[in-house]
């Protein structure tokens, strides 16, 4: 929002020693953020007055001219398209480097082969009006070379306020509101609003001319004021009015429209003028479903039965509070108007403006909840100014005021001890009272440390309702920077540790430092195409109603798809590499956490997972991934944490049952791992071998808890006997099955460790050889080799019988 300093000075006299910088800083510190300010001289920087010396036809374009312009410091060649350019004219020239109010930057260019060093501007290009018929021709008093701002006598300073920081303060969306803050901050006197009104204003007393206004939906419209004005003549606004609008970036249109805008920027109340000719009554109602209206911006809008319109009983004339209709707008031939000053319900305006994608200066104000009392002031201000702008205009009707609100002041009791406690330091009673009064609050001391505070109407719509709001008012004027900070003083207490987070940290560091894996943060979303290529069923995935793109339309149920996408980004890299991620997945099943206050309904199930992906050549990636798993589980659970890899019955679509396995630790299933199948590789264009695992991190955490810590074991007292045995067996027999049988064959067998797998020469095609280190130990005696030999013989017999295995 733009605020003109000259305009502010209408309401508060700002001493010369207070500079624009002071104003910007103090407003930011106490009220709302000022993003910056420009003097108008800056705004028209590099726009100067020039004299047209020569006009020639452009050799290559019929409509263009070659113009030579004298801007005093030099003579410029400019290509100009305006039909009205003529020798001897004084014109505004934007020099190379100028940035016009619309954002256009002027550059040296060549237009159809002819050089052009600048631009001769039309009114609209300078933000001064609607006119784009031709270039603006200046008065004879203009001096070539002068800054254009000087010619305009525009010496204002314009502040730009951050709209977001005004979002809860409808009273600040006006010059008067900002002036009120300024007066409070700098301790200046604020002119009362009554002084702006013509005290000799007379409404018509002819009851016959009373406008017929009906509000159908009382909730949607708290107040509607209307008056009819005759003897209207639509013409250009006087310079003072135009200057003000130009200063706040509003393009002047005509005297009536400009005046409604003027009052809105001044007081914050949007007004609307209808051409009165055909209107004999006004009905504020909800639109019929599918009702159409052409708005002033010449677009047809289709409305629903939630949208509020102003109608003449039959046709809608305007979308209430947002934009007028083309059919009832002010035109050059308008001679009589109906002026509307209304208060519409913020929620209605917001919803409709949102739905239609139509925002206006008016809707931005209404949707922040305006003060119903402001309607009357604004209407009277319009009439007072109209007298100045168009003295012959005549108030032709009594004032119609239909209202549905209570004009009583709300009060809050403020306990000053509570205030001091809340702030953390004492603010004197005098200061507290003064700060509130400066902002327009009524303050009355009702007991030793207690105030009764009356909320002014312009703050009571939404913004100030509780004592905490008053604390903010007092505090912000006192200045946040003037509060002496100190850390909370409290009783020591031991915080509850977040075990999951601690485990997460350990696991992350271990994987990165030990296995050179890089941590990734992937999106929580996946897309249909992505899952199709991975042969994953997406039927049950949760979906967004409003995804930002098709690739991010569903919630991930696994970390794997996005990890595979990570490979694609990096697969040009020659060396092997790998990633891990710890993140949440979302399932379409009831979870545990409550969904609302009552706690009956629950959120969908969400689980934290660990995903690891390893990229390299051939099946070795699968082995590498397995060694990472055992490294990790040994790290977390010690020797007892040796993982088991078991056959997986329900392998996900991107791998196959033959190339995947579930992972068991300490007898619990924690996840699975798999090789990306050939089909997957072809579908997503993987150029390298890829192995992926996914582990339920919450499951690991609960295992860590139930496992506790490993206990020290006395080193063995008696020596072990070691034997290496290589078996030949059918390829289909799984290692884990075979090993398990050996391990549990006899209690003297302490360790069974695979050290070689072989198939090929000397073995038949369906055979493989597994070679093991076996170690035998007794806790209470030294074993001799004869008994071990006998034991091995029995073992061989057993394995022959069970697996048809033989020694190699």
């Amino acid at each position: 929002m733009y605020i003109s300093l000259n305009w502010l000075k209408d309401f508060v006299s700002v001493p010369g020693k207070i500079t624009p910088t002071d104003i910007a800083q103090r407003l930011t510190a106490h009220t709302a953020e000022v993003e910056g300010f420009v003097t108008q001289a800056d705004q028209f920087n590099k726009v100067v007055v020039g004299r047209v010396l020569e006009v020639k036809k452009h050799p290559n374009a019929d409509r263009l001219r070659l113009v030579l312009v004298d801007v005093k410091s030099e003579k410029l060649d400019i290509v100009c398209g305006a039909p009205n350019v003529a020798e001897g004219q004084l014109v505004p020239v934007a020099l190379v480097g100028a940035v016009l109010p619309g954002g256009l930057e002027i550059k040296a260019s060549e237009i159809r082969g002819e050089k052009s060093n600048g631009m001769i501007c039309a009114e609209d290009e300078l933000g001064l009006g609607q006119n784009h018929e031709g270039i603006m021709v200046l008065k004879d008093t203009a001096k070539p070379g002068d800054n254009f701002a000087k010619y305009l006598k525009a010496e204002d300073t314009v502040f730009e306020l951050d709209n977001k920081s005004l979002s809860n303060r409808s009273d600040l969306l006006s010059h008067y509101g900002i002036a009120r803050e300024l007066a409070a901050i700098f301790d200046l006197k604020l002119n009362p609003v009554d002084k702006l009104l013509d005290n000799k204003m007379v409404f018509s007393e002819d009851k016959q001319n009373t406008l017929n206004v009906k509000i159908e939906d009382k909730k949607a419209c708290l107040r509607y004021l209307a008056v009819k004005i005759d003897n209207i003549e639509i013409k250009e606004s006087p310079a003072w009015l135009k200057d003000r609008l130009v200063a706040v970036n509003q393009r002047p249109i005509n005297n009536i429209v400009d005046l409604t805008n003027y009052v809105m920027f001044e007081l914050g109340q949007p007004l609307h003028a209808f051409t009165a000719d055909t209107i004999d009554k006004i009905v504020v109602r909800l639109a019929a479903s599918g009702e159409k209206i052409e708005t002033l911006d010449e677009k047809e809008r289709i409305l629903s039965n939630e949208d509020l319109v102003i109608s003449d009983g039959q046709n809608s004339l305007a979308i209430a509070g947002i934009m007028g209709g083309k059919n009832s707008g002010v035109t050059p031939s308008t001679t009589s108007i109906i002026l509307e000053s209304a208060n519409f319900n913020a929620q209605f305006i917001r919803k409709t403006s949102q739905k239609l994608g139509l925002r206006s200066e008016s809707s931005t104000r209404f949707e922040k909840s305006l003060d119903p009392l402001l309607t009357e002031v604004a209407l009277k201000r319009f009439l007072s100014l109209l007298k100045k702008v168009l003295p012959k205009a005549r108030i032709a009707s009594p004032l119609t005021d239909v209202n549905n609100f209570q004009a009583e002041m709300k009060e809050i009791i403020l306990d000053l001890d509570w205030l001091d406690k809340k702030i953390g330091q004492a603010i004197s009673e005098n200061e507290s009272m003064a700060n509130l009064k400066k902002l327009g609050f009524g303050v009355e001391k009702i007991s030793e440390r207690s105030l009764k505070v009356l909320i002014p109407s312009w703050r009571a719509t939404k913004d100030v309702t509780i004592k905490e709001d008053l604390a903010e008012e007092i505090l912000r004027l006192h200045g946040y920077d003037n509060i002496v900070s100190y850390l909370p003083q409290e009783t020591l207490a031991c915080p509850v540790p977040n075990h999951e987070r601690l485990l997460e940290r350990r696991v992350k560091s271990f994987l990165a430092l030990k296995y050179s894996l890089n941590e990734v943060y992937n999106y929580s979303f996946v897309g249909e195409e992505q899952l199709k290529k991975l042969n994953i069923d997406f039927f049950k995935h949760l979906r967004l109603t409003n995804p930002s793109s098709e690739n991010h339309a569903m919630l991930r149920q696994s970390l794997v798809p996005n990890l595979i996408s990570n490979v694609k980004v990096n697969q040009a890299r020659l060396e092997p590499f790998g990633f891990f991620e710890i993140g949440s997945v979302f399932l379409n099943a009831p979870g545990e956490l409550p969904r609302e206050a009552t706690g009956l309904a629950v959120l969908p199930y969400q689980e934290k997972r660990l995903g690891i992906i390893v990229v390299g050549e051939n099946q070795s990636v699968f082995d590498k991934l397995k060694s990472i798993v055992s490294g990790l589980t040994n790290y977390l659970f010690g020797l007892a944490g040796e993982p088991e890899f078991l056959e997986l019955s329900d392998a996900p679509g991107w791998t196959t049952a033959q190339e995947s396995a579930k992972i068991n630790v300490l007898g619990r299933e924690i996840g699975f791992l798999g090789l990306a199948s050939k089909k997957t590789a072809a579908n997503v264009n993987l150029k390298r071998s890829v192995a992926v695992l996914e582990i339920n991190f919450s499951e690991v955490l609960s295992l860590v808890f139930s496992f506790g810590s490993e206990k020290f074991q006395e080193p063995a007292r008696y020596p072990a006997i070691e034997r290496d045995l290589a078996f030949v067996l059918d390829k289909k027999i799984l290692y884990n099955e075979f090993r398990k049988e050996i391990a549990r064959f006899n209690s003297l067998i302490e360790r069974v460790e695979l050290f070689d797998i072989y198939s090929g020469e000397n073995l038949s095609d369906n055979e493989k050889s597994l070679a093991f280190h076996l170690s035998f130990r007794s806790p209470d005696r030294t074993l001799n080799s004869e008994e071990i030999d006998a034991l091995i013989k029995n073992l061989l017999d057993y394995l022959r019988e069970k697996f048809n295995a033989r020694l190699r």
Binding site: A32, I423, E472, D481, E490, N498, S524, L593
Partner: protein, 360 residues
């Protein structure tokens, strides 16, 4: 004179003389050989011949053992000092050879060590860890909550009114799973604040917690906008928590993030879940407040949003606002990471690009 001595004594003297000569001769021989030694192999040979357990010096020592105590003592001393002298000489020459050999085999000490690769933690993890450590050291707990939230926890309980712009479809991702009344009341959380309510309900007051986590807003992504980002917020509830405390904690955060000399300034700002509400700006760490590109020449960086917890929010968390008050602050962790490492495109954080990840 000798001839006057008794034969026994004469024999003794003779033996002594003999042995003495023998020792001296051996010593001379060794020293001569040593003066001609050419290389370390030759030296080792000599060492073996003279000084080893079966070497010539040992033999002499051995032969002394049958002599009288007195002779043994005299000759022993003599032999020993000769041996020491020779050992010293050996050592000297050995060292010379070693030195020479070092000189001749050229070791390029400037060669690099073996390259060991290691993996990298994500920069978000690193900065988050740093902050978690600060606050846990102050006794804060680390709070977690679901990323898929309900409208109630994400908005209603936080005093965000039903028509607040944040609730629009264009700002929030809603889940296509209507509740029993047909409303879309599930969403991807737009802030970490719903966890405040969950923590209040779980732990009650007093409470000190930080909440780091992933948040979502329905935005078109470009270099400066991401629909997935990280926030970090803090909450403290107690009987005497006040605005001066809030200010102090914000100062602490600034110093931790940007260095000891960082200054804070607070501005009024509206957030529905706090009252009073404010933002916090810190002196720009890059230019120390002088003004630069990063701080848009203001010297200040707006980092944190904060305030005293709104009584309605305390109530939603089951805490009596007349007895307790709370402070809360939050900032964009993703933005902080970008500032800290001078990352200019936010999308890199979720890119999985090794050329990015390996730099941390």
């Amino acid at each position: 004179m000798e001839k006057f001595l008794c034969p026994v004594i004469r024999r003794v003297i003779k033996a002594k003389k003999y042995m003495k000569t023998k020792i001296e001769k051996l010593k001379e021989e060794v020293l001569r050989e040593l003066s001609e030694v050419k290389n370390s192999e030759h030296l080792k040979e000599l060492e073996l011949r003279y000084l080893s357990r079966k070497g010539e010096f040992s033999e002499i020592m051995h032969s002394l053992k049958d002599l009288s105590l007195e002779l043994k003592k005299d000759l022993g001393l003599l032999a020993n000092s000769a041996k020491v002298e020779i050992q010293e000489k050996f050592r000297e020459i050995r060292m010379k050879f070693e030195k020479d050999s070092v000189k001749s085999s050229v070791l390029d000490v400037t060669l690099p060590g073996h390259k060991n690769t290691y993996g990298h933690l994500h920069p978000l993890t690193m900065v988050q860890n740093e902050l978690e450590d600060l606050f846990t050291s102050l006794g804060f707990i680390i709070g977690d909550g679901p990323e898929l939230e309900s409208d109630y926890y994400n908005f209603t309980a936080l005093n965000v009114d039903p028509l607040h712009p944040a609730r629009d479809m264009q700002d929030t991702f809603y889940i296509d799973l209507p509740n029993n009344s047909g409303q879309y009341d599930l969403l991807m959380r737009t802030q970490t604040s719903p966890v405040q309510i969950r923590l209040m309900k779980k732990y009650g007051a007093p409470l000190k917690a930080i909440i780091p986590g992933r948040c979502f807003r329905n935005e078109a992504t470009d270099a400066r906008h991401e629909h997935t980002f990280y926030q970090f917020e803090g909450l403290m509830i107690g009987e005497n928590i006040n605005f001066a405390n809030l200010k102090s904690l914000l100062e602490l955060v600034g110093k931790k993030l940007f260095g000891e000399n960082t200054k804070l300034r607070m501005r009024p700002k509206f957030f529905p879940f706090v009252e009073p509400g404010n933002n916090g700006e810190y002196t720009c760490f890059l230019c120390q407040g002088k003004g630069c590109r990063v701080c848009k020449h203001s010297g200040w960086l707006e980092i944190v949003g904060a305030g005293l917890v709104h009584p309605d929010v305390l109530r939603a968390g089951g805490i009596d606002p007349e007895k307790y008050s709370g402070l809360a602050f939050g900032f964009g962790l993703s933005r902080l990471v970008m500032l800290k490492y001078n990352i200019t495109d936010v999308r890199l954080l979720n890119s999985g690009d090794l050329r990015f990840l390996e730099q941390f």
